[in-house]
């Protein structure tokens, strides 16, 4: 049985007094699934991601994450939910004066892990993203691809239930894009729900089993209703008729 990790119920978002950038978003995302968020520039992808990683509140509608309705949750409640989400920003948002090691260790430190419990997992994570020998390097001395991998390592180090990546392959070559996709699918294989915003059709094609969330002009394109009413169990090719 697959649970719902994200549920949007007629969610709308506007910045200040401007027009709505997202309107009437109605969908559910399953735990442990892999999603691509697509759409033309200006469709509202980044705004939707901001709602998902709790950097914005919807201006209307109900948004439920991890089974909790968070549209009107008190501000003090947010940190505990944010710790369950890993985010890979398009511009990486690494802390420039910290080493790669300290950047990756940050989520563990914020969660209150002791130093002796941080060293091993961070070294292991840096090795996993191929940066074991760059642990003490600071972001300005790393290439774009290396920074991207540090950002991914930071996003997944605390084993979040939901990983959100905004154009994670936007600044890297094809080989690095493939490697990053491999890291994300590996995380998904461990049970993490992954949402990747991308324009990269090749990336989508290279990920069988991933589902698409398409936005156009701030609205969800879901002609079949698959996102509004996703199957509660994964399909089985040779199972009995339901």
């Amino acid at each position: 049985m697959t649970g719902t990790i994200v549920e949007f119920d007629r969610v709308g978002l506007r910045y200040g007094t401007g027009a709505e950038v997202l309107r009437d978003l109605d969908f559910r995302l399953n735990q442990g699934a892999f999603y691509f968020l697509t759409g033309p520039s200006g469709a509202g992808k980044t705004s939707l991601l901001k709602l998902l990683y709790l950097a914005q509140r919807p201006t209307r509608g109900r948004m439920t994450l991890f089974g909790e309705e968070l549209s009107h949750a008190p501000r003090e409640a947010m940190p505990s939910f944010r710790r369950r989400i890993g985010v890979v920003f398009q511009d990486f948002r690494l802390i420039r004066h910290l080493s790669a090691f300290d950047n990756v260790a940050l989520p563990l430190r914020i969660s209150g892990h002791a130093d002796q419990d941080i060293e091993g997992p961070v070294r292991e994570m840096l090795a996993w993203v191929g940066l074991a020998d760059r642990a003490s390097a600071r972001p300005p001395t790393l290439s774009g691809g290396e920074q991207q991998r540090v950002a991914i390592a930071r996003a997944v180090i605390a084993r979040p239930e939901l990983v959100i990546a905004d154009e994670p392959t936007g600044n890297v070559d094809a080989a690095m894009a493939e490697r990053i996709l491999h890291l994300l699918t590996a995380m998904n294989g461990l049970g993490t729900t992954v949402i990747v915003a991308t324009h990269d059709v090749g990336l989508i094609a290279a990920t069988p089993g991933a589902q698409l969330i398409r936005l156009e002009k701030g609205a969800l394109v879901d002609p079949t209703g698959a996102l509004r009413h996703p199957p509660r169990t994964p399909p089985r090719a040779e199972g009995p008729l339901q």
């Binding site: 990683y53 709790l54 950097a55 914005q56 509140r57 501000r75 003090e76 947010m78 940190p79 505990s80 939910f81 944010r82 710790r83 985010v87 948002r93 690494l94 802390i95 004066h97 910290l98 300290d102 260790a105 940050l106 989520p107 430190r109 914020i110 969660s111 130093d115 930071r154």
Partner: protein
Amino acid sequence: MNPLFVTDAERRLIPPSGVRGPVPVLIAIMTFVMVVVGAAGLALANTSAVVKSGVEHRYSIQISDGAAKAPAAVAAARAQPGISRVAQVPPEELRRTLERWLGPAGQEADLPLPAIVDVDLKPGSDPAAIGRSIERAVPGARFIAHRTSLEPLLKALRGLTLLAVGLVLLIALASAAAVVLAARGALDTHRGTIEVMHGIGATDEQVARLFVRQIAIDALLGGIAGAAAAGIIIALILGGANTATMLAGTPPIGWNDVLWLVLLPIAIALLATQVGRGALMRALRERL
């Protein structure tokens, strides 16, 4: 966890230069002014207390129609159990006093002189009852408290002391305002780091801790520097000027007062830390 204790990793998140800026210098100047003004206020309060205690129990019996009644006044005063000392002011001293106002005419023999008898009351005695008794025994005599004539001076000293207290509070307020501005400036400087931390799930308390310790250190360093400079100036002034000591009969600043002055920079550091923390938390709450 104590907000003043941060780990090495937390310290690396916000480099010290990012918060420091002009805060220690500002705090040093504020503390310098505060300690000097505080010392002046304490000196005024002490001088006022010395003057007040010197005249508190001192009264005069004044008989305006001549010296003939002086012995009777002295006798009446000595008969009062509440009086500890009786001394008639010698006529020559009265003439010398008058000479300052009247010139050589003050020494003329036919100038009528009042008789004045100084008396000191024992603590706890009733000046009104003693005065009534003497005025009954010596018709025409007036029983006058010295304090009455010094009241304008004492009032001025009290006013100046209050002014010093007000100035100390005002400077503390200005220091607090400087710390608030510095704290907000530090948040703006490190906006990127803070956004990343919040995004990862850091609480406001965790973010504020990174800055509070630096604010406390800056305020304490500035406070100590300012207080040390003020201490040197005060020591130089007190060492070179014995006039105040001569006027008051005692040093204008005692060791108890020095203790208060030493506490001022510590109080400033505590105030800065608390105000800084409050400003940080308020500023952080403005974000989601």
